[in-house]
Every structure is written in C-alpha cells, then in structure tokens.
C-alpha cells in the first residue's frame, strides 16, 4: 500500500489470560475501538501472541483488506517484534503497526477496574490515530564483525572466551587485574564436591593463554565503546606492568634480588593477610606467568632513587621502567560482559559484628586464603596469636537479606559456609557452629552435602547473630569472642564463646558497575546488577543488541551457574556472528534540507557524532549508519528540519490527540 491509501485499521485487544482481563473490561475496550476513525475490525483474544491469535490477525487482514494493525497487549519489549512479523506475514509493511501497552502500564499497576478500562481506551485511541500516519519503512542489513570482546577474566569470562575461541572466533579477553582467574583462583576447595579450586581452574587459565584465537589483555580496562551491534569499536586502556610480557619467563629472579630483602607490603591477592615485595607475582599459577611492578611501592618508580638490582638480575632484560599506559582499538561484533562481583566488606557497615575491631573476626574470603595451601600460612589455620582454634562460629547472611546493607540473598553463602565448616574441622579439629537464618541448598548434590556436614558433627544454630563482643560474663568466656544469638529452633537466647568468628559475606555489584553500565550502554537494577533482557527467556541478553552477560555481574551466582551462563552467552554471541548480518531498526533521523538553516545546533548535541556538515550547501547531514535514533537533534532543531522515522511530529501529535480526546 502507499501512504496515501485510506487507512483500514484492525484493533486487537489481548486478555493475556487474566493478566489484563482481570482489571480491564476488554469487551468495553473493543466496543470503544470499533467507533474510532478508520477502524474496520476490532476483536479480542485470550492470548494474541499464540499461534491461533496470530492467525486471527492474518486472516482478518486478508478478509477485510486491512492495511494497519494495532495490538493492545503487553510491553513492546515483549512482543512488538512478534506482531510486526504478523503484520508483514499478512501482506503489509511491518511498520504499519502500533502497540498499546495495557498490561505493564495499566492492568499490573491499576487497582480499579473503571480506571483501568478508561486508561486502556485512551491508549488504544492514541495508537489508532498514530498508526493512521505510519509509513512503510525498510530495514538496513549490516554485516557483523566476527571478533568478540570478553570483559572480565574470572571463571565466567574464561569459559565464554574458550567456547568462542574453540568455535574459531577471534576473542579479546580484557582483565583489569594482573592475572586472570578472578575470585575462583582464591578459593581452596569448591562445594559440594570439594574438588580443589586451583586443580580445575588453572588448566583453563593456561588454555586461555595458549589458545591461538584468544588475545589476553591483563591490567587492562575498556575505556570507550562506540558503534552498534555487529560493529563495535572499543578502546582498551592497558596500564603499565613495567615488564615486557613477551620477554619475562616468570623465573622470579627479580623478586629475589629486589632491594627490599623482606616482603613488607600487604599482598592484595591474600587480602592483606600476607606480604609481598614491590615486584611480585600474584600467585604461583598466575596467568600470564609474568611478574609486575607496583608503582606505589617500588622505590625507583616512586622516588626515582634505587639501586635497581632487579635490572641486573633479569638476564632477559624484561624490566622496563619507561612503560606507559597504552590505548589499543579493537573492532568486534559482539561483547560479553563478565565483570563479576565484589565481596561485601563489613568494615563500619555492620559494627555489631566487630569486624576490624576484634582481630579474631574474619571474612569468609580471608578464611579461604588462610585455608589455602598456596595462601599466606600455607594452609594452616591459627588465630593471630598462633593458637589452633578450638571453636569457630560461622555467621551467615552478613551483608545479605538485610535492608540496611543488601536486601538480596547472595545464594552462595550457605553452601560455602558449610564447605568452610568442613575444611576448618578437617584441618584444626575445632567445633564449628553455623549460624543461619534459613539453610538454602538448592542445587545438585547440595542438600546431600548439608546432610554430610550434619553427620560430621557441625553444630547448626538457626538464628541470625545479634552481636559479637568480647564482653565476658563467665570465666569460660574470658578472652573469647562471644556470639549472642537466639536459637530460634529451641526458642532460647544463647551466648556462645568462640576463638574465631567467620563472617559469611554476601555478594555485591562491583563498585564501578554503574560506570561500566554507562560505558556499554546497558541497564542495571538500582542495586547495580546488570539487567538481563528478560529474567526467564533472555537471561544473558541485554537491552543493547550485541552485548551479553555472563556470571555474577548479572546477580549472585555460584561457579556451576556462572559457567553455564557463560556458555549461554557464548552461544548467543555465536548465533549473532554466524548469521553474518544484523537488521537495523529504521528509526534514524534525517535533515529536511530546505528547512535547515545551517545553524549547527544539532551537531554539537548528537551523542554519537552522527551529524556532519555539508559546507557547500551549508546544511547539516546525518550519517544514518551512526544514528541511534535518540531524537536529541529532532528536539534541538529550531526550524524543525531534523526529523526521525517512526517519530514524526504528526505521528506523535496524533497519538497525543488520541489519548487526550478520550480523557
């Protein structure tokens, strides 16, 4: 059809089961729609998105010779693409369609049936008047760059990178820390099978390093992202390591020869429980197997004065104090974000647990390091005064399920607390208490692991710990930490003296999650977890095409789930790449030349640098490949020369008129 043809509109109102129909009087809305201008048919259906629902629309289009379709149902995010396709299958251009959201915007948020029905009518009236002014549009096909960027080198990023590299794609793996491995590299054993974390992780780390299709970039961060699905341009900033990575073989001679004879700086990898020198390697299996120099503590880098004994010790001349920050530019078609989580820091946030105040209060991550044979104590667990603990209390839900810190359940703490209880008991013979609110063990083999711990004599106390103090009431409590808790199963308040208290800290979004979100133009929940496109049906996609999520950056997750999700993200990215092209949404802007005065107001406002200037004609021009359809230029242009497809003035005005004419 052509734009001048008289509109013949079909209106379809969906019940969505009872989602819409329980609040909105659907019959009344249909009746109302029949009276709107150009409406030829209006009908209702229980589930319009179902096959019979779609067929209803297609059949009507044929029978009544419809040329425009309005569907009043759920959010366009959910089914706009479905009904555009139906419109196309019915023989019309897919953009001669408009959706009215009467579920998220009406029935789910309105109590009163009368109000809900009225609002639905207003929205339908707006959609009908708008669609009459829709014009046929075509989508542009753009080829997809087959390279992939993975951000974050924890277990999720490693898994995603290996999967895609094995499929023959070129993968850039960017990691901010000096080594890949993430949190998993810090754990001793993993639940529920108790396999050694390093034994299962480090082979994958070295596969990343040696894989011909993976370019691993450590000490690196993504600085800028431009472009769009299939054609991203990414700037990566690499911080200086002061070591030539290709020359260093990890012999560690430089560390040996450093002017600091003793390691005296807190070792980040061991959460400050151990010490390192200014030149160091984070841990023995670090990947890459390359040392680094910390500019904050290296005498030469800090003060410019040092004997530089390390330079002499390195016969491969790998040390380079002149290294500077480097920027590299990557072209990729898809991005997988696997930036992980941060463990909750109880310092000052839960003073009742005395972390940072009483030396024998530890976080669970610290205990992981103390139990690890590669850790600062070679796996020996003792109190700070060197005693083997007799009793240990593990406090669950620290920084979880708490409105004052984080409201969510962190999902992994019950299981890792049980694991720590097992390991502590095994290594020290101590009696271990687990203080829990609810024991959550929903996973394969998890409940069985809980049962095993109960059989091993772990002492469970159901109750959230109220306080940890050094206030002693009895001689047995002298010199101990006292945990005060209501044993809610027994219904009494107990005071339990322990030698060590372990806070099972929850998982939080990374502190810079919100900046990262903006950089990649994706959404995140108010707490900072990256938002998936749909919680059930698109759990690894984001609202930005071509950007996918893997692991705990999307929400707390254990290792099996992170690995599974990484695989899913890799599959989604592969599907995109192997299709070879993307179809662009045709909602770009253009300039009506004869109206443009050449004032350049628009070009400065464009966030995507899509607006150029034709000096000869003295007119602005928009590069449609770069335009993202944000509409800023349209709103800025003083003479109304900037216009946007699907958002023409007349379409928007008609929609407003439609809504208002009813209200």
């Amino acid at each position: 059809m052509t734009a001048t043809e008289t509109p013949r509109i079909g209106v379809y109102v969906c019940h969505c089961g009872i989602n819409i129909a329980s609040r909105v009087n659907v019959k009344e809305v249909v009746e109302f729609a029949r009276g709107l201008p150009h409406v030829v048919v209006a009908s209702e259906y229980k589930y319009l998105c179902s096959d019979p629902g779609q067929e209803l629309i297609r059949a009507d289009m044929k029978e009544h010779n419809l040329n425009r379709i309005v569907v009043a149902s759920c959010s366009p995010l959910m089914h706009e693409s479905t009904f555009r396709r139906v419109t196309a299958e019915g023989g019309q251009n897919e953009f001669l369609f408009q959706m009215a959201n009467i579920r998220e915007h009406v029935s789910w948020v309105t109590e009163d049936e009368g109000e809900a029905t009225s609002k639905s009518k207003a929205l339908v009236a707006g959609a009908v008047r708008r669609v009459a002014f829709h014009e046929p549009l075509t989508r542009e096909k753009v080829p997809v760059n087959p390279n992939v960027l993975v951000v974050g080198g924890g277990i999720a990023g490693i898994q995603a990178a290996l999967t895609m590299a094995d499929a023959g794609k070129k993968v850039y793996l960017v990691e901010r820390e000096p080594t890949i491995g993430g949190h998993m590299a810090k754990f001793d054993k993993t639940f529920p099978t108790l396999d050694c974390s390093a034994c299962i992780l480090t082979p994958k780390m070295s596969m990343v390093k040696s894989h011909p299709n993976i370019e691993m970039m450590t000490l690196s961060e993504v600085a800028e992202v431009h472009g769009y699905v299939g054609n991203f341009k990414v700037k990566v900033k690499k911080n200086p390591r002061y070591i030539k990575e290709d020359l260093c073989v990890g012999c560690l001679e430089c560390i040996e020869s450093c002017v600091y004879k003793e390691a005296k700086f807190p070792d980040e990898y061991n959460l400050g429980l151990g010490k390192r020198k200014p030149v160091y390697i984070p841990f023995p299996q670090a990947t890459p197997q390359v040392v680094l120099v910390d500019p904050e503590t290296c005498l030469y880098l800090k003060k410019g004065k040092c004997k530089q004994t390390c330079l002499e010790a390195c016969d491969r001349k790998a040390i380079d104090f002149e290294q500077k920050e480097e920027i590299s530019e990557l072209d990729v078609g898809a991005i997988i974000l696997a930036t992980g989580f941060k463990a909750f820091d109880p310092t000052n946030r839960l003073p009742q647990y005395g972390y940072g105040f009483y030396p024998e209060v530890y976080t669970s991550l610290e205990i992981e390091r103390l139990l690890n044979s590669a850790g600062p104590t070679s796996g020996e667990l003792t109190t700070k005064s060197g005693q083997v603990p007799q009793t240990v209390g593990i406090v669950h839900c620290v920084g979880s399920r708490d409105k004052k810190t984080n409201v969510w359940c962190s999902r992994v703490c019950c299981m890792y607390s049980l694991k720590l209880a097992h390991l502590i008991e095994e290594r020290t013979g101590a009696h271990v208490y687990n203080f829990y609110i609810d024991m959550r063990t929903p996973g394969k083999g998890y409940e069985e692991f809980y049962e095993r711990l109960l059989q091993e004599g772990m002492r469970p106390v159901r109750g959230r710990v109220a306080a940890i103090t050094d206030w002693a009431m009895t001689p047995e409590e002298e010199g101990k930490l006292v945990i005060r808790v209501e044993d809610t199963m027994i219904g009494v308040v107990r005071r339990i003296p322990v030698d060590m208290a372990v806070l099972s800290v929850g998982l939080e979004p990374q502190p810079d999650a919100k900046e990262v979100r903006r950089r990649f133009n994706i959404s995140c929940s108010p707490e900072g977890w990256f938002l998936e496109r749909h919680p059930k049906l698109a759990p690894v996609s984001t609202f930005t095409d071509g950007v996918f999520l893997a692991g705990a950056c999307q929400g707390p997750k254990d290792i099996p789930d992170s690995v599974a999700q990484a695989g899913a993200a890799a599959a989604e990215a592969l599907a995109l790449i192997d299709r070879g092209y993307v179809e662009m949404e045709p909602n770009t802007a253009w300039i009506e030349e004869e109206l443009c005065s050449g004032c350049k107001s628009c070009s400065g406002q464009c966030p995507y640098n899509a607006i150029g200037f034709d000096d000869e004609k003295a007119r602005a021009m928009i590069n449609e490949a770069l335009c993202k359809g944000c509409g800023t230029c349209v709103a800025t242009c003083p003479s109304g020369a900037a216009r946007q497809k699907l958002f023409l003035d007349k379409q928007i005005y008609e929609e407003i008129r439609g809504v208002l004419s009813y209200v």
């Binding site: 399920r401 409105k403 609110i437 959230r464 710990v465 306080a467 005060r484 044993d487 809610t488 308040v493």
Partner: protein, 208 residues
C-alpha cells in the same frame, strides 16, 4: 483423666486471624508481615532471657493469630523500650512500636499477668498525673503507685532508697504543674481516640 488428654493442638477456630492486621494498622506496625523469623530481635534484646515468649515468637504468634497468648504474655511488660530490636531488625520492623500496640490492647482489655500488675498500674498512674497537671511529679507517682499496689513489703523494700532520695533532695512531694492544665486537656481531647483514627488512616502510604 482429662488433664492427661490436655490438648496441645491449636485449632484455627481458636485463633484471631485479624489480630495481626489490627497491629499492622497502627503507625509502626506496618512491616509485621515482612518478618523472616531470624531471631535478631531476641538475640539483641537485653530482656528476652526473662520473657515468656521472645520478641521473635511474639511476632510469629501475632501473625498466626494467637491473640490471647500474646496479650496475656509477660513479654510486653518486660519490654523496656530500648529500641535494640527496632534498629537491628534486618527487615526494619519497628518491634518496639508493635510492643506498644500490644500493650495498649492489653490495657484496653484489662488483662495482664498478676505478677506484672505494677507495669500497667504505673502506666495508668503516670497517665492520670500528666493528664491532670501536664507534668509528672516523680514523688507522687511513686507514692500513688505503692499505696495502690498495697504491697507493703514492696513499699518497704524501696522505702530505703526513697528516703535516701528525699534526703539528697532528689525526690519531693511538690506537685509539678503547667500554667493551665485545662488548655492541655483540650489538646489531648482533640487528638481523639486512636482506634478511630487507625480505621480512617489505614490506607495511608507509609514513608518511614
């Protein structure tokens, strides 16, 4: 024989399922249904160890409709309003306000454990003194209370401290008063009955 078959079971028909909603409708009671029974309140409460039911159990019983047991329990009279539970609760339930709401219910119904009669009695005497004079007179409050409780033994027990307080000029029988108590009573009368207000305002959106 009957006592051997004392029933332990609680039938739904014995419960008042509306009780929790009534408590929830008072300012401060609104989050009672958020409770996850973690026991932080009881663990932090300095008096829970003396209570018949810990604060956590009071919440559970209130929600389940055990109104008689809750209103008759000594727990509410052992609450010292120290607000530990309120500030520690991970679900931000204002337990102290809930304790107050249950206390008011008990006072309205005139029921309390015999050995705790001093608490509602003091509350009542205090209320009367303030309503009459606008201020509390600590000397008279104590006098009235112990005269009324007729527990001569109790009175004597604290008489020692009382006499010492008088001697140290930290107790007196002067009546403390505001300029015009009648004016204050007008304000208190206009504040109205809280029960009616609750009915009226229960739908209000709570910001706290």
């Amino acid at each position: 024989m009957s006592e051997r078959f004392d029933r332990q079971i609680k039938y739904e028909s014995d419960l008042d399922l509306n009780f929790a909603h009534q408590i929830a409708s008072f300012p401060g009671g609104e989050r009672i249904f958020d409770c996850i029974q973690c026991g932080t309140c009881s663990g932090t409460c300095p008096l829970s160890v003396y209570m018949e039911y810990t604060p956590r159990r009071i919440i559970a019983m209130t929600r389940a409709g055990f109104k008689d047991e809750v209103v008759r329990s000594n727990t509410i009279w052992l609450c010292s309003s120290c607000y530990s539970c309120t500030v520690e609760c991970p679900k931000e339930i204002k337990l102290t306000d809930i304790m107050y709401a249950i206390k008011r219910q008990a006072i309205r119904e005139n029921i309390w454990p015999k050995e705790f009669k001093m608490s509602p009695m003091m509350t009542g005497e205090f209320f009367k003194l303030v309503e009459k004079n606008g201020r509390n007179s600590e000397g008279w409050l104590m006098m009235n209370l112990y005269m009324k409780s007729m527990a001569v033994g109790d009175a004597l027990k604290i008489a020692g401290i009382g006499m010492k307080m008088f001697a140290k000029k930290r107790m007196s029988l002067k009546t403390e008063k505001i300029a015009d108590p009648a004016e204050l009573r007008k304000i208190l009368d206009a504040a109205g009955s809280e029960m009616e207000l609750i009915k009226e305002g229960a739908k209000e959106v709570v910001h706290g």
